[in-house]
């Protein structure tokens, strides 16, 4: 009886468009800091809460944990919460109970799909009758973002069966905590895996910075968006099995289809018998996306087209791709990458015209990246060209501070009491303050009223506006970097993203099981999201690479599958009588003294490693090995690599990640090991230069020997000449 009731309920739920789901997420996930500190007599800071397009919010609760200074005066201190500028709650900041946790329900009607601003505002005082310093250290309230949790109850909306939904509905960066997509492929051939990789990369790109995990299966995965990738014959037959069909087309072909439900074989009838061949209702909340074409070239075209569907066109459920003309992709282009000798206005750098207002305005930061292999020159300067204005009647101590990577480079004195407007205020920033990879330029503003204490403070005139046509120009630098550096790989997939589309890069897949392929797709997704450009030029190969391959290479599989040439070069080799490095002492420069143990061993389960070393086939080219004992460990490794904490710990030539259940978080051990090598702009480097760079003492010895030889050769050459200059009798004698 109970079983019948259960089946009845399941059957009842299937035709329903949606049912309520719940997500709980700490506010920390929406900020780069675990604590938000509000200071001075008035302060406001905010977080952006993403609401995916495919969610219908039913209820949203905030558990807010904050701590305030116990010097505050309860009657004059309050914390307000605003949602999209609308006040939704306020709390007294009581010094008697400075540590508070409150629950509040946020009004759903003020939420919109997209990014919603959740702001916290304080007004706080610690004196009543006397004048108080507006930014006294006593004035603070800290919102603990780690313990403050947003609880969202939502229903999923049906997926519009239009290809327009690919751009922002199905693969939506606002979805959290992460996206998930299942891929079905024709087979595990090199061509099939290559188009699968392209498709995964395109999808990852659409998810932007939001983590996305992939899975690979032979059949549809219920409860998820599925993508079917393969040649037309395979796709047609697959769809036919689910009662679906493709249109007639030439070239690449994309189609969005309703996600079929489970086959009737799995569905009970009301009588309890099963009706063979009957189709279950579709799952309207998910979709099946088809990426196909007559031949693999067509499928590639379709996959590349999918990667570029960045806005709501076409509205139709299918398209035929005849041709795709990609822009000329410059080397080192990528997400937020500032290229040399190019002027970027602030708007391009995601810094729209911003006004800093009031007594304690929040700062604003420009985040950008430099190519990770930049050899930062010490004597160059980047040019920051500012256009800004500020209000009248401010104290002369007001200033605009420019901070580069947490180092103050200039405090601009706002000394004119009548206010001011500056165009082309140029600040030359020494390039040694920048670093390859991520950089920040922060603007902090100190605005102070030109008043004596206790005068009536009018804050309306206290503003500073930085205009979005201000600009940043970075000078050219040579591309030269010493490898191995897995931290660069984790930063933006370098060196595989030297050309952002993965040109001259290849993946060698040793295994072909679902988990291994999924691990590969996760890695491709990771690299794509780090660099912000789909890896359309990346090849996947099932055959071991040969010496003909002159590009960069990723090897994925169990340690035993790593080709012998690579094993000979790699810092860690698993198997019989292999030499295993163990770090012993770490010196001040972060380098380890390494002990080597020769042993017969196995890597063991629940762990995997990433290694980087120079390609045996081409100097200056890189091989990265992602290996684990079995495919499930490999998959876990690929998932672990998506964790920012894991990425942050990557360094040097090897990185061992333990993913066992005994660890609440993946445990990472990484250190510098292996022969160092260098790579330049084109990825290649002179063998001689590379060798001498890696062996500086040889370089010095060579210099000495050459100088000595030069001196002797010179002596030999000049001796005869000198004899001819001997005049007089003494010469004859």
């Amino acid at each position: 009886m109970r079983r019948h009731i259960a089946w009845f309920l399941v059957a009842l739920s299937l035709p329903l468009p949606a049912f309520a789901l719940t997500q709980q997420i700490a506010l920390e996930k929406f900020s780069s800091h675990p604590v938000m500190t509000l200071t001075c007599i008035g302060d406001e800071q905010s977080l952006d809460i993403p609401i995916p397009d495919r969610w219908t919010i039913k209820k949203i609760n905030l558990t807010l944990h904050y701590t305030s200074s116990n010097n505050l005066i309860a009657d004059l201190a309050q914390l307000g919460v605003k949602l999209n500028t609308i006040p939704v709650a306020q709390f007294k900041l009581n010094p008697a109970s400075p540590d508070m946790t409150v629950e509040l329900a946020l009004p759903v009607q003020y939420l919109e799909p997209g990014y919603n601003r959740l702001a916290f505002r304080v007004a706080q005082h610690f004196m009543t009758r006397e004048c108080e310093r507006p930014c006294s250290p006593d004035l603070w309230t800290a919102v603990n973002l780690k313990d403050s949790v947003l609880s969202i109850e939502y229903e999923e909306k049906p997926v519009p069966l239009s290809l327009a939904s690919v751009s922002d509905f199905m693969f939506d960066p606002k979805v959290f905590p992460e996206g998930h997509v299942n891929l079905i492929t024709e087979d595990r051939s090199s061509d099939a895996l290559t188009v699968l990789g392209m498709t995964a990369s395109g999808i990852a790109r659409r998810f932007d910075y939001r983590n996305v995990t992939f899975s690979v299966s032979r059949d549809l995965q219920p409860g998820a968006d599925n993508v079917l990738v393969g040649r037309r014959a395979f796709v047609s037959s697959f769809l036919a099995g689910h009662g679906l069909s493709l249109g007639n087309t030439e070239g690449g072909y994309l189609k969005i289809l309703p996600m079929p439900g489970a086959k009737a074989t799995a569905m009970p009838t009301t009588t309890g018998a099963q009706e063979p061949g009957a189709e279950a209702p579709t799952d309207p909340n998910h979709a099946l996306l088809v990426v196909t074409g007559e031949q693999y070239d067509h499928v590639k075209l379709a996959a590349a087209t999918l990667a570029n569907l960045s806005y709501g066109f076409p509205g139709a459920p299918e398209l035929t791709a005849h041709k795709l003309r990609m822009p000329d992709v410059p080397e080192y282009a990528g997400r937020e990458v500032v290229r040399a000798n190019k002027t970027y206005d602030f708007k391009t750098l995601n810094f729209s015209t911003t006004s800093f207002k009031g007594i304690n305005p929040s700062g604003k930061v420009i985040n950008f990246r430099l190519p990770v292999d930049f050899l930062i020159k010490q004597n160059l300067t980047a040019k920051l060209n500012l256009h800004f204005s500020y209000g009248a009647g401010m104290r002369e101590t007001s200033a605009l501070n420019v901070v580069v990577n947490d180092k103050v480079v200039r405090a601009i004195h706002l000394g004119d009491k009548d206010g001011g407007y500056f165009e082309n205020y140029v600040i030359d920033i020494p390039t040694y303050l920048f670093r390859p990879g991520s950089n920040t330029i922060a603007f902090g503003v100190e605005l102070q009223p030109s008043l004596k204490e206790c005068d009536l403070a009018l804050m309306g005139n206290m503003f500073l506006t930085i205009f979005e046509n201000s600009s940043l120009t970075f000078p050219d630098m040579p591309h030269f970097v010493e490898l191995p550096k897995l931290e660069l790989f984790m930063l933006n997939g370098f060196p595989f993203t030297r050309w952002p589309d993965g040109f001259e890069s290849k993946i060698y897949m040793a295994g072909d099981d679902d988990a291994s392929v999924t691990a590969m797709l996760n890695l491709i997704g990771l690299i794509t999201q780090k660099n912000g450009f789909p890896l359309l030029g990346l090849q996947v190969d099932r055959e071991p690479p040969t010496a003909k391959w002159k590009g960069d290479l990723i090897v994925i599989g169990p340690p035993a599958s790593v080709p012998q040439e690579f094993r000979a070069r790699s810092p860690l080799s698993v198997g019989n009588k292999t030499e295993i490095p163990y770090p012993v002492v770490r010196d001040w420069e972060g380098e380890y003294t390494i002990a080597y143990s020769t042993q017969s061993n196995h890597l063991g389960g629940d762990r995997g490693y990433l290694m980087e070393f120079e390609s045996p086939f081409e100097p200056g080219r890189t091989v990265v090995v992602m290996a684990a004992e079995n495919s499930s460990s490999l998959l876990k490794l690929s998932m672990a690599l998506m964790e920012p904490e894991v990425q942050a710990q990557a360094q040097g030539g090897i990185m061992l990640v333990e993913t066992g259940a005994q660890h609440t978080k993946p445990k990472v051990t990484s250190f510098q090991i292996g022969t160092r090598y260098t790579t330049g702009k084109a990825g290649k480097s002179s063998q001689v230069e590379s060798f001498l760079y890696d062996h500086p003492y040889l370089y010095y010895v060579l210099i000495v020997l050459l100088t000595l030889s030069f001196a002797l050769a010179l002596y030999w050459a000049l001796q005869r000449y000198r004899a001819s200059r001997k005049l007089g009798r003494s010469a004859g004698k």
């Binding site: 040579p478 050459l706 100088t707 030069f710 001196a711 001997k726 003494s730």
Partner: protein, 742 residues
């Protein structure tokens, strides 16, 4: 065949090594990070310092190792400077940066040329005449004179008659350009010219030498010598400026070279001066420093000799008549006729040699004015040679001769570089121009090792002839005055005319030469720049690195300018004949006391000598004494003298005596005073080496402070004088009132 291959190999091998070294250097500049650059720079520097300390590395082949290491640091700097530090940041910045870069490239070129020239100096090249005097060539001695006093000419002519050479093969000519027909025909100055004409003719007759003069003064000294050439026929020509008194052995030590090498056209000998230049006087205070030209004659000319590029320096040189006649005599296109003539003869494949033994004694200019006049002539003349003959492209010269001549000419552009260095840091600190793009680590790892290495290299090459920092002072003193003169040559190469350097001048008092004013300007500019640097230090924390560098640069400029000011202080010169410090034995007889004691000559001049003796009784003032002295040839001289000055030191007496000379004794005195080249050689070699870099540094600081104090006093007195003269002036009153209110 083998010899041919060996010859190719001799060129090919060094070229290959040089190429590989360049490649390695370029690699380090391109790829090495700061820590490695620091390692390369400082290990190179300390290695250089180590080699410098060992005598072994003063001589080839190890000497070459030192030079190559120094070259390594310099090329490393050039590569970095050219490839990494030239950054366009705006038109004004660029202009200033380009000027500084050009100045640096100039300095580095001179540095490299200096290293090349000094690769292997010729030393100790003895030559002795054959026993058979019939083989001796005939020699004509030319003593050109223009306006010098008869006394000066007399000494030189007299000393020429005392040359150890067969008298029948020696003819001496006073070539007078002060008594030419043209001069004598001048309505106002003619009388003076006539008097001079007669005086010198009488002098010539008296000494048994020849007197020559000509119609006009055309082509100045060159014309004068050419006129003499046309009226004489000796196979060899000895040219002596009229204040260059030869030693007896001049010809016996030089003529042999001409017998040994038929293609030899010149034997040049050092110019040895017994009086300091005004700059040397200003720098006096540390021991017995080398003379300014010692660097040239003690070191550079030896090196030029190795490359067969020793050139005629206008005097103290023996030349072959036939060669001179082949090029039409002494050339007069430029105002350094001497170097130009040598250049032409070298171009025709003739050889030259240098005898590194001082065998003449001359006089330096006494005043700054004369000093600058002389240096300006050299600078203009050599620049003329550069512009009009371009040694790098002139036909006939070998590559090394081209480089040597180019170096000799190009050197005179140092004024541009020095001036640029003086103002460059101020360009940044005062005007905000970004002239030098380098971070502090780059400065420390590349620039500082290179700059320090240049000091070591200077000391390595010229340490025996010049104390540390003297070059900087000399160049600073001359730079500001030579720059316009050199520019004028570039604008009009034919414009400069020959101006005779006055010699034997006297000055009655010390005074600051007004030429020093330019250095006040430099001091003020650098002081203001340093003030601006302090302001910027607090206003722009990001510029701290740059400010440290420019501040240090300004301090060095300031130090140099102050020291130079000290050097501009003119000392009085009241002696007619200069004394030289010696240490020689003397026998002193005092007839009144019937005493004969042995003493030590401490200084001597043509008119007397000072000696130190131990006596049982004090001598009386104006006491007549008999002095017996000798020279290195074994000759003994007896002079009667009277004591003019007596200083008692216990039982020792320092006595200053004046010779009582008649004509015969005067000739003896000349022979004694000027005839012995060994004395000049001893004095030359005894000139002190460095007293330690720090001591020199301290000395120059004291000198600078003194200069600044004296100059300030002088300006204060000038201001007071002006005030006394204009105190009623309305403007002055307004200024004073404003000052009071302030």
């Amino acid at each position: 065949m083998l010899a041919r291959y060996l010859r190719y190999l001799q060129v090919f091998l060094p070229a290959v090594f040089a190429g590989v070294l360049l490649y390695l250097l370029d690699m380090s500049i391109e790829h090495f990070d700061d820590s490695r650059q620091m390692w390369v720079g400082w290990s190179g520097f300390f290695m250089l310092l180590l080699l410098f300390k060992f005598q072994l590395f003063k001589c080839p082949p190890w000497r070459f190792l030192f030079i190559l290491l120094a070259g390594f640091l310099a090329i490393r700097y050039i590569l970095w400077r050219s490839l990494d530090s030239l950054i366009y940041t705006g038109p004004l910045d660029f202009t200033a940066m380009a000027l500084l870069f050009l100045a640096e490239m100039y300095a580095i070129s001179i540095h490299f040329l200096g290293m090349f020239v000094n690769l292997w100096p010729m030393r100790n090249r003895p030559a002795l005449l054959p026993d058979d005097k019939n083989q001796y060539p005939t020699v004509d001695v030319f003593i050109p004179t223009y306006n010098e006093s008869e006394d000066i000419v007399r000494i030189t002519a007299l000393a020429s008659t005392q040359l150890d050479y067969p008298k029948d093969k020696l003819n001496i000519y006073i070539c007078d350009d002060g008594g030419t027909v043209n001069k004598r025909s001048h309505p106002e100055l003619g009388m003076e010219a006539w008097e001079r004409h007669y005086r010198l003719r009488r002098l010539a007759a008296e000494l048994g030498v020849n007197y020559l003069t000509r119609e006009t003064n055309r082509s100045a000294k060159a014309g004068n010598l050419n006129h003499a050439l046309n009226h004489t026929k000796g196979e060899l020509i000895l040219v002596l400026d009229c204040d260059h008194v030869p030693t007896r052995d001049f010809l016996t030590r030089t003529v042999e070279y001409f017998l040994a090498d038929p293609k030899l056209f010149l034997v040049q000998t050092p110019h040895f001066f017994i009086n300091p230049t005004p700059v040397e006087k200003g720098l006096a205070g540390v021991g017995n420093p080398n003379g300014e030209n010692d660097m040239f004659y003690k070191e550079i000319h030896r090196s030029l000799d190795f490359w067969n590029s020793s050139y005629f320096c206008g005097s103290a040189a023996l030349l072959r008549r036939t060669c001179l006649e082949e090029v039409g005599g002494i050339s007069g296109k430029t105002i350094t006729e001497d170097a130009e003539t040598a250049f032409l003869l070298h171009s025709r494949g003739y050889n030259s040699a240098y005898m590194d033994r001082p065998m003449i004694c001359g006089l330096s200019p006494e005043s700054y004015h004369d000093y600058v006049l002389q240096r300006r002539r050299w600078a203009q003349g050599m620049t003329q040679l550069l512009v009009m003959n371009n040694p790098l492209l002139a036909p006939g010269l070998s590559l090394h001769q081209r480089l040597c001549y180019f170096n000799s000419c190009f050197y005179w552009l140092f004024g541009f570089a020095r001036f640029t260095y003086f103002v460059a840091p101020a360009c940044f600190l005062i005007l905000g121009l970004r002239v030098y793009h380098a971070s502090l680590p780059q400065i420390l790892s590349i620039v500082v090792p290179y700059i320090l290495s240049t000091f070591i290299v200077m000391d390595f090459f010229y340490g025996r002839a010049r104390q540390p920092f003297f070059s900087e002072i000399y160049e600073s003193v001359e730079a500001m005055f030579l720059m316009p003169a050199v520019v004028s040559v570039f604008l009009n190469p034919h414009q400069p005319s020959f101006k005779v350097t006055p010699k034997g001048q006297k000055m009655d008092s010390d005074f600051l030469n007004p030429l020093a004013v330019i250095f006040f300007f430099i001091i003020v500019v650098n002081l203001v720049a340093m003030g601006m640097g302090v302001v910027k230090w607090f206003a722009f924390p990001i510029l701290h690195d740059t400010l440290i560098v420019t501040g240090a640069w300004c301090s060095y400029n300031l130090y140099l300018a102050l020291a130079t000011l000290g050097a501009f202080w003119e000392r009085k010169q009241i002696r007619h004949f200069h004394r030289v410090n010696v240490s020689e034995p003397v026998k002193v007889s005092i007839p009144r006391l019937g005493l004969e004691v042995e003493g030590e000559v401490t200084d001597l001049s043509l008119t007397g000598l000072a000696f130190r003796v131990q006596l049982p009784f004090p001598p009386a003032s104006q006491e007549r004494v008999m002095l017996e002295v000798g020279d290195s040839y074994g000759s003994t001289y007896h002079f009667e003298a009277k004591l003019q000055r007596i200083i008692t030191r216990g039982d020792m007496y320092n006595c200053g005596s004046e010779f009582l000379l008649d004509d015969k004794k005067y000739a003896e005195a000349v022979a004694y005073m000027y005839g012995d080249s060994q004395r000049w050689l001893d004095m030359w070699l005894a000139k002190s080496r460095s007293h330690g870099t720090l001591r020199m540094l301290g000395h120059f600081i004291r000198m600078g402070a003194k200069g600044a104090r004296l100059c300030t006093t002088m300006f204060w007195e000038m201001a007071q004088g002006y005030w006394q003269k204009h105190k009623g002036n309305r403007v002055i009153k307004i200024i004073l009132r404003t000052a009071r209110i302030a």
